[in-house]
């Protein structure tokens, strides 16, 4: 068994695609049309283009429990997805300049440093740096 895809539920696929590629710097890997305007939309990170993909899936639009769960996590500031970075402070500064909103500023947590931002599509995302 191999881990190849991690899903991120988004409220708007097009908006999410723009945010994840233009602001976060991910690269689009697959974009296949499905029914009803929905897409099979996956991205990879620039540094690991043959690595795991994230799937931006429109679950909150079509499945009520997904929407409820996402809203509750968002409200509580809980990130369900995290990305590794070399330096959290540098990413925090870079993304802030691009207008990305953080719900938690860079903070040391034992052997890592973390920060949490809003992906504009319903999710808190955590950045992690190994100190």
């Amino acid at each position: 068994m191999k881990i190849s895809i991690i899903s991120i539920p988004v409220r708007d696929q097009e908006k999410a695609l723009k945010f994840y590629t233009e602001k976060l710097g991910f690269i689009k890997k697959l974009d296949l049309p499905l029914e009803g305007g929905n897409r099979w939309l996956t991205l990879v990170s620039k540094e690991a283009q043959d690595g795991p993909e994230i799937l931006l899936e429109p679950a909150p639009l079509h499945f009520e429990p997904s929407k409820v769960y996402q809203e509750a996590l968002l409200e509580a500031g809980i990130p369900y997805t995290q990305f590794d970075v070399e330096d959290v402070q540098i990413e925090y500064d870079r993304l802030s300049k691009l207008g990305v909103e953080f719900s938690m500023e860079p903070m040391e947590m034992g052997t890592v440093k973390v920060a949490v931002f809003y992906d504009t599509c319903g999710n808190n995302i955590q950045l992690v740096e190994k100190i």
Binding site: G77, V100, S103, G110, N124, I131
Partner: protein, 141 residues
């Protein structure tokens, strides 16, 4: 840019947990220092005696402490580090033998076994796959 001045439930919880789990800053500084030492010297002949001597602590204490904070022993961490670095060398086209010694392994046999154990394929196979991939990309096929 900070969204709001009030702390989220998540941050409140994180701070509470940090107080309980990571309150010993001295220990944290020690293990992080050891980890940075390994990061900077992964290609040399590191061992637990040297690491503990470097910080004037018992090697058994160091072993326990490192594992408690990183979930790995210093030795396991060093091996992971060397394997990660070896991937960079292999991708750049360095031969398997040269790569093995460049990242600090002493024997080609143990390097190949460890690599296969961690990555799932042999160093040679890994290099072949990576190089043919980059060739494909540069040809825009």
């Amino acid at each position: 840019m900070k969204l709001s001045e009030t702390m989220t439930f998540y941050e409140t919880e994180l701070r509470r947990i940090r107080k309980q789990v990571y309150s010993n800053q001295q220990q944290l500084d020690l293990v992080i220092g050891i980890k940075k030492l390994i990061d900077a010297n992964y290609d040399s002949d590191l061992n637990l005696d040297m690491l503990s001597f470097h910080r004037f602590i018992s090697k058994y204490y160091l072993l326990r402490l490192f594992k408690r904070y990183f979930g790995l022993t210093p030795k396991q961490y060093l091996i992971d580090k060397r394997i990660e670095k070896s991937k960079e060398f292999l991708r750049a086209g360095t031969s398997v033998t040269q790569t093995c010694f460049a990242v600090g392994f002493k024997s080609l046999g143990s390097f190949s076994v460890l690599f296969k154990e961690k990555i799932g394929i042999s160093p040679k196979q890994y290099q072949k796959e990576q190089l043919s991939r980059s060739k494909l990309n540069s040809n825009h096929i």
